[in-house]
Symmetry: C2
Subunit: 334 residues, 2 copies
């Protein structure tokens, strides 16, 4: 196992120490009790607090998205392991500015159960909590860690757009509804050229042959739709984009946000090659890419591969996407 | 070779097509003649044009740094291959707004010779050109492609700081002097856990054993100082930081910008672990990290590893670093 780490069991704590030292202008990191990251000025009075969380190993998601205009807090679990309800509860309390708190939950069984428990505990303490589950992955119906579709790339877009709505001081019910609508209009699929190695496991999660790839893979290396011999970027992009486009379905005349995501070990040069193919496919179907995001934003440690997310835009989504954001992982206008 | 590409010989052209389609608000990509990327509003009248360029495979550098507040143009060569003088000449002409043009050149023999030739050709056409060579890598004196030290991480910082000075409409001599001063006050060193594979070569540039790493490696896989068994992040950070700190030397009381760069295949979680170690080392020497940059900004395709750059700050560097920038690869304030 070749990693820039000290002891495998210390990776998450040391990463959080790094974040705390690097970004005190953006966030505070709580490490005395349950681990969580909150924006530096939390709680913001009168603003809905927006929280997400999940296993570590997907950086910059979620901790890198804490800041003005996006998340109020993130709860990092161990690598590829759900955070605990007490992390979520403490984060919920830390961001409660009196306007309620929204939990954005990726659809993995552990995350969903733990966020539900945390929401119940927070409500018992008098905090209004709503939760939205993200399940945008069209690859498989059920999978290793999930009943129903998995939550993947649309999570990043939901956090940005929902965070912007909360920043405008919209009420909780409205912020939650926007988040649900982003999920309803977003679809994703991913693929892997290589596996990744969880630090405390010390060996690759799965094996792929020298000339093999896997289509429809999850962000924890969960099995996808199919393994097949390596294909060209044009063919791979088609294999990802077609099920996405057909599922919603996206139609001629639609405006979309196209998100080409790197899984952690794939260089940017290849993501732009994929974006180029995706732009051709969308054009061929009369779909206009009005906004885009290209880079490693929801990763799977050092896995090589990519995922594509398409979000059908409306004027409100576009305005909220364009709104200023200031986080370590995503920043503009501030 | 596992890559998200079509034909190896088309990688750079297709990447540029992807950039052109993704970022028309930021850049124009010229592909009819010699390849180059210029900011969308080039030439900006009365502003010094700032250009860089080099082999592809180091993305987002340099094309991802074209935009307001940073580069006016970038010339991408083939992967790990210097761009040609005609690319640099055409880019120079395209950004000439009457105030002269600065060439920021990483110290590799091919880049230096070709930029010199381009500068001569541009001068023959009546354009005032200055050039600054970046040579911040303390690892080795001479190397495979270089006489003297190689230009690495300080290039990113020089492009940002110099670009901000040009944006303020400072004259060419002043902009060039600021660039020289950044180089004079910046030091870097890198390391690799794995090799990378140049697309048209089809096999790894070098081999590293299962438990082996290389310290002092260049961004094209050029040999470094030494190969050794894999060490912890704390030990690796010490091996990189000590030669950097001792070289300038950085002294107690100094304020620095600390740049922890990923080589392309290393996930962000590990870069924050390294940053955490670097912060301890700097603190131990009485050096204050006043600004930082953490992520993959000057990469070596999918190589796993990292580099550290320290830049001794002064008030002017800090102000110019903080100035607004709007590029695909680096953005704040706009």
């Amino acid at each position: 196992m070749k990693k820039l780490i000290n002891k495998p069991e210390d990776v998450v704590a040391e990463e959080l120490q790094g974040i705390a030292q690097a970004h005190p202008d953006l966030v505070r990191v709580s490490m005395d009790g349950p681990f969580y990251i909150v924006r530096a000025d939390a709680p913001v009075q009168g603003k809905v607090g927006v929280i997400s969380g999940g296993g570590s190993g997907h950086e910059p998601m979620h901790g890198g998205f804490v800041g003005v205009g996006m998340l109020d807090a993130a709860c990092p679990g161990a690598v590829f392991t759900s955070p605990t309800p007490d992390q979520m509860l403490e984060a919920t309390k830390a961001v409660n500015g009196g306007a309620g708190v929204l939990h954005i939950v990726k659809n993995y069984t552990g995350d969903v159960l733990n966020f539900e428990m945390a929401a119940d505990l927070a409500r018992a303490e008098g905090i209004t909590v709503e939760a939205v589950v993200i399940d945008d992955d069209v690859a498989v119906k059920d999978s290793l860690y999930t009943a129903g579709r998995r939550g993947v790339g649309a999570t990043v877009l939901a956090e940005k757009i929902t965070g912007a709505a909360a920043e405008q001081r919209r009420p909780l019910a409205e912020v939650a509804e926007i988040c649900r609508q982003v999920n309803a209009n977003g679809r994703s699929m991913g693929m892997a050229l290589t596996s990744c190695t969880v630090p405390h496991a010390g060996k690759p999660t799965f094996e792929l042959g020298e000339n093999e790839m896997e289509i429809g893979i999850g962000i924890h290396g969960e099995p996808g739709r199919t393994r097949m011999p390596l294909k060209t970027a044009a063919e791979i992009t088609e294999l990802l984009a077609t099920p996405i486009l057909d599922d919603l379905p996206f139609k001629s005349g639609d405006e979309v946000l196209a998100f080409v995501n790197g899984m952690g070990g794939t260089p940017l040069i290849e993501l732009y090659v994929v974006y180029n193919e995706l732009a051709k496919i969308c054009k061929g179907r009369g779909i206009k890419i009005a906004r885009n995001l290209i880079g490693p934003y929801i990763t799977s440690l050092e896995m090589a591969g990519c995922s594509i997310t398409l979000l059908k835009l409306n004027d409100e989504f576009t305005r909220l996407w364009d709104a200023p954001v200031k986080t370590a992982g995503l920043r503009w206008g501030l």
